[in-house]
């Protein structure tokens, strides 16, 4: 959803950098300490791997990345900046294939987007921001408040709907999530809306009954439109560690996830698990959340993300 115009683009980059720079700060210090005027030997590589592990890349991926680095530079005298650049390139290369913006341009009207995820990852907030971006593009947006479980989730969504100028379809607390999604799709169709965003209750991926409920939402809206949902977004929290693997795997099983959104990248968490997820699942990463304001959902850019991750200026060449 990043705007094409230059001004907005700079806004995004500086925002991302600002968000990531805090986390990259410690990473950069670590890298500098490890590599200033040193040979890239086993010890230095081990330290590098450790630093990547601290960014939540996971042991396997961190070691794979450092191995690639070693293959090219072993025992060469390297300085911190050079290594950072190579490291960023390596990470960016792994992320580039999955950096795919939202595409809601399909033939279906409305284009149905199911939003799922674990509790507290920021689904409702992401929907609010997404609705706002879509409205700014001139789309008409409906939102189904299918989180009928969490107290005041419906009110929260209504407030976001008002801010974004989207129509929120809601039912009763404790009501049937699938039924409400069905009703919202009917209404969005009748109103000839472009997009229907379906908010769902947060659920832990190991709760089979709750995951079945999600599958039911997919099945029920499929009765109205066999191709729906056209997009299924899994919202991941950047502070989450290796459990993200299990989240992607099990949500994919339950509702056939088509893309990821990573939230809360404005803290010190670096979201490095995305690097591991990219090679393991290859799911598109559409956007990242970098703040609580309505404009804080930005397109995912592999290079900026990777450079910011290792503490380099995100938009320099």
């Amino acid at each position: 959803m990043a705007k094409a115009n230059g001004e907005r683009k700079r806004g995004f980059l500086s925002r991302l950098r600002k968000g990531l720079s805090r986390s990259a700060g410690s990473l950069t210090q670590g890298l500098g300490g490890v590599l200033t005027k040193r040979k890239l030997n086993d010890e230095a590589l081990q330290d590098l791997e450790d630093i990547l592990i601290s960014a939540d890349l996971g042991v396997e991926t961190a070691s794979a990345v450092t191995k690639t680095l070693a293959a090219n530079r072993y025992n060469k005298q390297v300085d911190a900046d050079e290594v950072k650049a190579v490291l960023a390139d390596e990470i960016a290369a792994r992320l580039a294939p999955v950096a795919i913006p939202f595409d809601f341009s399909g033939a279906s009207k409305p284009h149905v987007v199911l939003v799922a995820g674990v509790n507290g990852t920021g689904k409702t907030t992401t929907i609010g921001k997404l609705a706002n971006n879509l409205r700014e593009e001139g789309k008409s947006v409906f939102i189904a408040a299918s989180d009928t479980f969490r107290a005041a989730a419906i009110d929260q969504l209504k407030i976001w709907g008002d801010r974004a100028g989207a129509t929120v379809i809601s039912g009763n607390v404790g009501g049937d999530a699938a039924g409400l999604a069905f009703e919202a799709l009917e209404k969005a169709r009748a109103a000839n809306a472009d997009i229907l965003l379906i908010d769902t209750a947060g659920r832990l991926q190991n709760k089979t009954d709750l995951m079945d409920e999600l599958t039911k939402v997919v099945r029920v809206i499929g009765k109205l439109d066999a191709t729906a949902p056209h997009s299924v977004l899994l919202v991941l929290d950047a502070t989450t560690g290796q459990n993200a693997h299990s989240q992607v795997e099990l949500f994919q099983k339950a509702c056939n996830v088509t893309g990821l959104v990573m939230t809360k990248l404005d803290g010190t968490a670096r979201g490095g698990v995305l690097v591991a997820l990219a090679s393991k699942f290859g799911l598109p990463v559409h956007a990242i959340g970098v703040g609580e304001a309505i404009e804080d959902l930005q397109a995912f850019d592999a290079r900026s993300f990777a450079r910011a991750l290792v503490g380099l200026d995100a938009n320099e060449t």
């Binding site: 674990v118 190991n206 929290d237 502070t239 803290g267 670096r270």
Partner: protein, 459 residues
């Protein structure tokens, strides 16, 4: 990828059959796997490094208990150390102060603060009969205050009326006033989620703390958290002075290494766990449970049991020596009874005594009731330590006390003592035989040790 640490270490030690003390190379190799297991469980790297160094120091030179592989031994040491670091004992909320006692809830966005505030409130209300007031200081997230109000309605706990536009510090002060006036015991102050690097919001929560002087400042943290847990916990600890941690979503399938990270960097006890979406799903923290989960070992308990059993085998060897010396007291009998019960009969016990293999089957056929064994154990448990060692001190008044204490008759006590005397006598003979280098007593002699069929204790 390995599912758990047991498997990992199994592979490391596959070729290694030698027993004895753990040497440095075993330990180093094993700890490499431990390191990866901990990292995959999201324990922060700095914490992993310290942990591994400490375990290494502990493990080198440690005797490997018989019948446990070196790998299993390392796991036991790792597990024990993990439990110790996670804070050994359970610690509950510390609410001893003049009411109303304020409890401040802090944490990142989406960690589960509001739900946790309601859960704690409900727990205090039902278990400790406290009068609780819930107050939401979250003026930022849309409908956050309403969320707490709804949870208050569900749990039948009062919530502070919402005044639109009032700022957090003022809400906190108002909550304390309402608490005093309304005679509340505990005020749960639920704050907005905030990033630990957000200076303005961290200053706000500090201001709230200074305004109400809370008895507990609970950091609510998601057990799915990765490496960042250390940064979060340390920042909140430094800025606000956290007194305890509540770990949420422990019903998920995350290994929960964040628990160890946060405990290690803050020194703050983990006090409570959120164990489900329902409002009564809250538990006090059990270090051992989290420890085996971090290590990814459902079977750790069994393993440690096994190690313990092995230790009891060593006891059996000690007993053998005791028997050979002709010393056999009621403590020994009790420990034999316990083992018999665990092993489901006499067979196991007999297997541990020297040179009596022949008798085994006959004895097994004797079909001894485990309830009988339990009663006999109970009788011995009702004795004083002195009585167990010096059977001679047992006069009729002592026997009466023991009978009453174990819920049997004096006749039962006498019967046990008679058996003990027979056994002790036998043991002496066995000892003498053993010293002479003979094979041991015959099956007939051993059968005399057993309680008479059909008679004896009430069943």
């Amino acid at each position: 990828m390995f599912e758990n640490l047991t498997e990992r270490l199994g592979t490391v030690f596959e070729s290694l059959t030698r027993r004895g003390a753990l040497n440095e190379s075993h330990v180093t190799e094993a700890l490499r796997e431990v390191r990866v297991a901990l990292l995959e469980a999201d324990v922060a790297l700095s914490v992993v490094k310290d942990f591994v160094a400490q375990v290494k120091e502990k493990a080198i030179g440690e005797d490997v208990v018989k019948s446990v592989t070196p790998g299993q031994m390392v796991i036991k040491i790792v597990n024990d150390h993990l439990v110790e670091l996670l804070g050994g004992e359970t610690q509950d909320l510390e609410l001893r102060a003049a009411p109303p006692v304020p409890v401040l809830i802090v944490g990142l966005q989406g960690s589960g603060k509001t739900t946790s505030a309601a859960k704690i409130g409900l727990r205090l209300k039902t278990q400790e009969k406290k009068k609780v007031l819930l107050a939401s200081l979250d003026v930022y997230r849309p409908a956050a205050q309403k969320q707490l109000r709804v949870l208050g309605e569900q749990t039948e706990i009062q919530t502070l009326p919402i005044i639109e536009g009032q700022m957090p510090v003022d809400i906190a002060k108002r909550a304390m006033q309402a608490g005093s006036l309304g005679g509340y015991d505990v005020i749960m102050l639920d704050t907005a989620g905030r990033l630990h690097v957000d200076e303005a919001l961290m200053a706000e929560v500090t201001a709230i703390r200074d305004a109400v002087n809370p008895a507990e400042i609970l950091l609510v943290a998601d057990s799915l958290t990765g490496q960042d847990a250390v940064n979060v916990a340390k920042s909140f600890k430094d800025a606000v002075g956290v007194t305890g941690i509540m770990l949420t979503r422990t019903d998920g399938d995350a290994r929960g290494g964040a628990a160890l990270s946060m405990r290690a960097v803050t020194g703050c006890p983990i006090k409570l766990l959120g164990t489900g979406e329902k409002l009564d799903e809250i538990e006090v923290f059990h270090p051992d449970r989290i420890a085996s989960r971090i290590l990814g070992m459902g079977d750790i308990v069994g393993l440690v049991e096994k190690a313990k059993e092995t230790l009891e085998e060593e006891d059996a060897e000690k007993l053998e020596k005791k028997i050979l010396k002709g010393q056999f007291d009621l403590n020994d009998l009790a420990s034999q009874l316990r083992q018999m019960r665990r092993m489901g009969g006499m067979e196991g016990l007999m297997g541990m005594l020297p040179g009596i293999g022949k008798a085994k089957r006959q004895i097994a056929e004797a079909n001894i009731d485990t309830k009988l064994l339990m009663r006999q154990e109970a009788i011995i448990s009702s004795m004083t330590p002195t009585e167990r060692i010096k059977v001679k001190v047992l006069n009729s008044s002592r026997k009466r006390r023991i009978a009453a204490g174990s819920g049997v008759t004096i006749q039962d006590v006498n019967r046990l003592l008679k058996q003990y005397k027979q056994m002790a006598g036998m043991m002496k003979k066995v000892g003498k035989l053993g010293r002479r280098g003979k094979k041991g007593p015959g099956a007939q002699d051993l059968q005399n040790l057993l309680p008479p069929q059909g008679g004896g204790f009430p069943r």
